[in-house]
Symmetry: C2
Subunit: 332 residues, 2 copies
């Protein structure tokens, strides 16, 4: 008998269709596309040497051994315009806002053919450090209400450029979905006198069956109502609502946790395409008791179809406890 599990945070229902379940090994890439990539590609706008000709002015640079290791630049085809005012207009059913905001690209390494799982640990630390620095800089822009840091790895995850990179989009609105989750988390706090995320974290640590990897400050686990196979959350243990408040000590620890988790995917599932996103509080809200920032990883090894689009419910063909055990057992 399948189970329908409810996500305590979002109230979303997920059908855990155990009768359709595959073994974790079945999610490995069918056709290994082991194309050997070069370290440098002359036509790549992110490779060293192409900085001036092909990419606009950088907003941040972290150096290593006298050369850049991380560069952040404005997206050449930004979804939002950097300049302009935030103006709302209503005309009958047509409600709109000027598309202002920031859209930047984080070039994670000078090497064209690497990925987070394979970088030196120090480089991963620098990537997270660069996220924090730009996050806190963007916070100062009064037009911005939300900052979304995310990575698209591989074609199925929506990227067109191979060179390792992530993105930061700062929007002049709080997305409806984010606001709803916030309202729900606040209600949970009002009713239970505790943060729903802290509650989840303590229960997951006690239960243990969905844990993947624990470090001093972070816990990687498969959520009880995971939306899809190997969907995973990394929670900071310290209650904190804004990613921008991550400490130096936590950055180092987060780098270990994130990279180890990504290594487990890389070796266990043969470098699957994935997205990750940092879910942090809207920028106008500080030190919230009821919300906890975290990172969510979604491997793109299955496809969403009409059922998901039409209901917002998901069918997960994999048992979260099995996925967690599989990843836990992969030793790096």
């Amino acid at each position: 008998m399948p189970e329908i599990r409810q996500n305590l945070v979002t109230k979303d229902w997920v059908i855990i269709a155990t009768e359709r379940a595959k073994r974790p090994e079945d999610f490995k890439k069918r056709e290994k596309q082991k194309i050997e990539l070069p370290e440098y590609e002359s036509t790549c706008p992110f490779c060293p040497g192409n900085e001036k000709e092909m990419s606009p002015d950088e907003t941040l640079r972290i150096e290593k051994n006298g050369k850049w290791q991380v560069r952040i630049i404005p997206n050449k085809f930004p979804a939002l315009s950097k300049t302009g005012e935030r103006i709302r207009t209503v005309d009958g059913i047509k409600r709109k806002l000027t598309g202002i905001g920031l859209h930047e690209v984080v070039i994670e390494t000078p090497l064209h053919n690497l990925t987070t799982a394979l970088l030196p640990l120090e480089d991963v630390r620098n990537i997270i450090k660069s996220y924090k620095m730009r996050y806190n800089e963007m916070l100062k822009d009064k037009r911005i209400e939300m900052i979304i840091i995310f990575k698209n790895h591989g074609e199925a995850a929506g990227t067109s450029l191979i060179h390792p990179h992530s993105q930061i989009v700062a929007t002049p609105v709080v997305p409806a979905q984010v606001r709803e989750r916030f309202n729900d988390a606040q209600k949970y706090f009002d009713e239970n006198f505790e943060c729903v995320h802290c509650k989840i974290l303590s229960e997951e640590l006690k239960d243990g069956s969905r844990l993947v990897f624990e470090t001093k400050h972070f816990v990687a686990f498969i959520p009880y109502a995971a939306l899809s196979p190997f969907h995973l959350w990394i929670y900071p243990k310290r209650h904190c609502s804004s990613f921008g408040d991550i400490t130096e000590d936590e950055i180092s620890d987060f780098a270990v946790n994130l990279q180890t988790t990504l290594k487990k995917y890389y070796y266990g599932l043969d470098d699957p395409d994935f997205n990750y996103v940092i879910r942090s509080a809207p920028t106008d809200l500080k030190n919230l008791d009821f919300f906890h920032w975290y990172l969510s990883i979604v491997p793109r090894i299955t496809k969403t179809a009409g059922f998901e689009l039409g209901s917002g419910m998901f069918i997960n063909s994999s048992l979260p406890e099995n996925d967690a055990k599989f990843l836990r057992d992969i030793k790096i």
Copy 2:
């Protein structure tokens, strides 16, 4: 300057990134995979002759010229179990429900190599008729709260079987997303004394710039805040909250509207992969003043990435008015 448009029903924001805009022609399939398919495939579980051996007992059949034209059968690998009771359990953060419900497949034609755009109109009418019959039959099951009728066309839309088919899933819960939209629609009604969908429909008819195709009883249009290129809604003109209440006259007209719209996709965008879904009211609610059933089509010609996953906001690289004009101008 890009625009951020708000969907009046869902309150979702969509970034209309005009600077990234492509021409409609650019969305055509890059590599034409014109594989000639046979009318009959001996290994296909939906082809005539394979009924007994390969597919479980049918729940509905519509005949034409003494042979079946539409068959509905239980899904061989159902996401939900047909038998069992609806039992809720809570254990700390673990909230679940027995995975009971119905999951059926609508085999739309005996011919392996056709698609809705190319079927005789009578066959499309029979498909819609079969949806209505099963919908109203499933309504009688007291364990069911929601019935979702949808179609996955093509690999990018999540289907693995080529033979033309759609699916019906009846769930023992109202999905959180559906409930939120309902609450919002009810609030809109309370504040404005009218159905938000009726309002949208009358404004779209007046405006005209996003209309694609109008028949006696139905209107196909690109929503003002379309989530992705060529995202389209077909609304019935008569206010009605349940798809199950569609009349015979409306079924005939809906068949014309749906097929013509799908033909415009087929010829204009070179048979793109797509999902469609019928959004109807939860089954316990009848004759609602504030909700209107409709059909939503999402062509799968772009990919959602980390930004969409992490915010619920979408970036649409296509201007809804341009998409509407492009489809409007395709004469069938």
